[in-house]
């Protein structure tokens, strides 16, 4: 939204494409529920006023030729011609397998929050929040405000890392305020560090979770388990477009330009750094794409500061090795194709596992099991091929039919 609004405000013809039903992405999902951050409404209004064309419910699946994107929605497809492209596809949660993790009502932390934003009744329900990252606290806070009971928050990082994180926040006072407010709001909710889920149990949905808590094992009954292990950048579309990637992040120059000409990238795909950094990068990218390099430069200092936070996040919420051994041999790792841990262990690389077990060949195209197997087995991912998202045959077979603009693609 930041990129689109800024570019459109410069008088450039802008189109925005997003898979979600409405503006806001993941962090600000559900603009209609009115409960979100004031910044969200501000940006939504700004995009609407800027004159940027907004295509919600559309997903980009392919680049059939230079300067053209193929997008589809529930009922049709279109080709989007662009002069400059700003990619802001965000990030997704990292999941890790453990016995019972495929039970219904075991969801990502952001996943459960998204469901509640889309109407899932949570009042009076018991939710265990587990995994790693600041998202856990934000999710627990949100759920509590909507009436959920949180018996425990399990953060796998150790107290020392969290304490260092807390101290380091002094560089970002706004974050301290945020943190303190969260602490206040979450008063009474036990937060355990050195803690992670060992197993989820239940008949048709999750009914209780066994957790490891500072070396002890505890069984906690619950209605939902919200479990996510920080975030993974969505780099599939940038990779398809030939952008160089390093350490799983899209490489960009000071103007957020990628190595692919005319393609910019902003936000989580360049490094997981949170809302502030994403907004700044989006503004730089939008301004730079619109040719306003001087105005873009004005944000460089702020970005530098915000990037420090990204590095802090990365250091604090590293995954501990104990998390590699949670699975039993029959634990499903690839959910699309039901490939178990023991079947995968027999292979020495992603490609071999994929070819011989179908792990990664399902509809999610490796988005869930890819980061998982990279952590569990140190496998390197494959190259990306179109479509970067499952697409209807008729869309892939399309001959040109155009909606013109200068898209900011999701």
């Amino acid at each position: 939204m930041a990129a689109a609004a800024c570019a459109a405000e410069c008088g450039v013809r802008v189109g925005m494409v997003d898979d979600n039903p409405s503006l806001g992405g993941q962090i600000w999902r559900g603009e209609s529920d009115g409960q979100h951050h004031p910044d969200a409404s501000k940006w939504v209004r700004r995009v609407r006023r800027s004159g940027a064309a907004v295509l919600c419910g559309w997903r980009v699946v392919h680049q059939p030729e230079e300067g053209v994107l193929l997008a589809e929605n529930l009922s049709g497809f279109c080709e989007l011609k662009y002069g400059k492209l700003v990619l802001a596809p965000g990030a997704r949660e990292r999941f890790l397998p453990f016995p019972g993790w495929t039970l219904p009502n075991v969801m990502g932390a952001g996943g459960l929050q998204a469901m509640v934003k889309c109407g899932l009744p949570i009042r009076g329900k018991r939710v265990i929040v587990a995994g790693t990252g600041p998202l856990l606290l934000a999710v627990a806070d949100y759920l509590r405000k909507h009436g959920a009971e949180i018996p425990l928050i399990c953060e796998q990082a150790c107290w020392r890392s969290l304490a260092k994180f807390g101290l380091a926040l002094v560089r970002w006072p706004a974050k301290i305020v945020q943190g303190l407010r969260l602490k206040f709001d979450l008063a009474g909710v036990p937060l355990a560090a050195n803690s992670w889920p060992l197993a989820a149990h239940g008949e048709t949905t999750v009914e209780r979770v066994t957790v490891s808590r500072a070396g002890r094992v505890e069984d906690i009954p619950c209605d939902y388990l919200a479990c996510g292990f920080h975030l993974v950048p969505n780099i599939e579309l940038p990779l398809l477009l030939g952008c160089a990637v390093g350490n799983g992040c899209v490489q960009v120059n000071e103007f957020q330009e990628t190595t692919s000409s005319s393609v910019f990238c902003a936000g989580e795909p360049t490094s997981i750094g949170g809302v502030e950094l994403a907004l700044i990068e989006g503004q730089i990218a939008g301004l730079a794409a619109a040719g306003r390099t001087r105005e873009a430069r004005a944000w460089f200092e702020k970005r530098k500061k915000a990037r420090g936070f990204a590095q802090l996040l990365d250091r604090t919420f590293r995954l501990r090795t104990e998390l590699k051994s949670l699975s039993r041999s029959e634990t499903v790792v690839c959910r699309c194709e039901d490939v178990s841990y023991s079947r995968l262990r027999q292979h020495t690389c992603w490609r071999s596992a994929k070819l011989h077990t179908r792990c990664g060949m399902g509809s999610c195209q490796g988005r869930v099991c890819g980061p998982m197997t990279q952590f569990l087995f140190k496998w390197k991912p494959d190259s990306v091929r179109p479509p970067v998202f499952p697409a209807r045959v008729e869309s892939l077979a399309a001959l040109a039919r155009q909606l013109e603009g200068q898209p900011t693609a999701k």
Binding site: H62, P64, L355, S363, Q365, V393, L396
Partner: protein, 376 residues
Amino acid sequence: MRNTAYDVAVVGAGIVGAACTDEFARRGLRVVVIGEDIVGSGATAAGMGHIVVMDDSDAQFALTRYSQQLWQGLRPELPDDVEYEQCGTIWVAADEEEMIEVQRKRAYYGERGVPTEVLDTKALQRLEPKLRSGMAGGLLVPQDGVLYPPCAALFLMERAQTRGAKLILGVRVAQIGEGRLGLTDGTEIAAEIIVNAAGASAADVTPGLEIKKRKGHLVITDRYPGFVRHQLVELGYLKSAHCMSGDSVAFNVQPRRTGQVLIGSSRQYGAEHKQVDHSMLVRMLQRAQEYLPGLSQMSAVRTWTGFRAATPDKLPLIGQWSGDKSVFLATGHEGLGITTSLGTARLLADQISGTKPEIPVEPYLPSRTAKEYVHA
């Protein structure tokens, strides 16, 4: 530099290499197989996995029929993940002219003991209701089947290893000849006989071989069980396979046991890169939608490409290479590598061990071509 002595060294760990290795090991030969990546990572990973009889020529028919029967014999031993399904093929005739071809095929197969059934418009619609209406009919070949090639190759390779074969992966062969193989890591392997089963890369291993890369595209959909029940091929398929130059597409879809629909086929010469070629994809999918309009709304999950190894006369090279007596060839299988892998292995093993092959090998001998090969 390590030196080890084998009876046979096989270059290439795809389905043909795996089948050959397995057959040599079965016959008690000391065999090593070298693959540059993982088992079945080349054309084997990209193929449609059909087990079919093809009648482009008598020689092609003989080899495909022989090999298909070997697959049928092997079937009870194949593990579940090989997903062997005898779904049969229907050659679809779009018009009356193609029905004439159907009759010709029926007669040809009939004379040679391959059961077939001519389908009229009604019968075709009943068997495959998702085909566009107005087709003239088709020919059902019930003994044809499909399987999942990477697991088939892995099965053969693992069986070969239990029979004593040695598998080396992740190394490239730099040169072969005169009873030795040089690997890029400096190792040399000594073997009485070296088999070039390197598929589309065969000419890199044996310079002078007339093998051209023929790129193909595939698309697989999400699960739609029952959408098609048989492998479906248009009668124009052979015209596409025939083309000695240029790009062509031909309608060819398969049901997989998972319920996914596998869509092919395309052929291009001269395309060296692995990337999906959008214009070919469009042509191939449009052709497929002409036959199966319902495909248009189906979710396509993946696309990929692969390189077939094509020879000038469309028959594989199975036998001793005139350029070097210690080198035998098992390559050039174009779009029939999966089908003919077992037959190839038998014919080659027969030639090497001096036993009488079960079908005449002359049509596949490398020496059949008049050209002189350049000595490497």
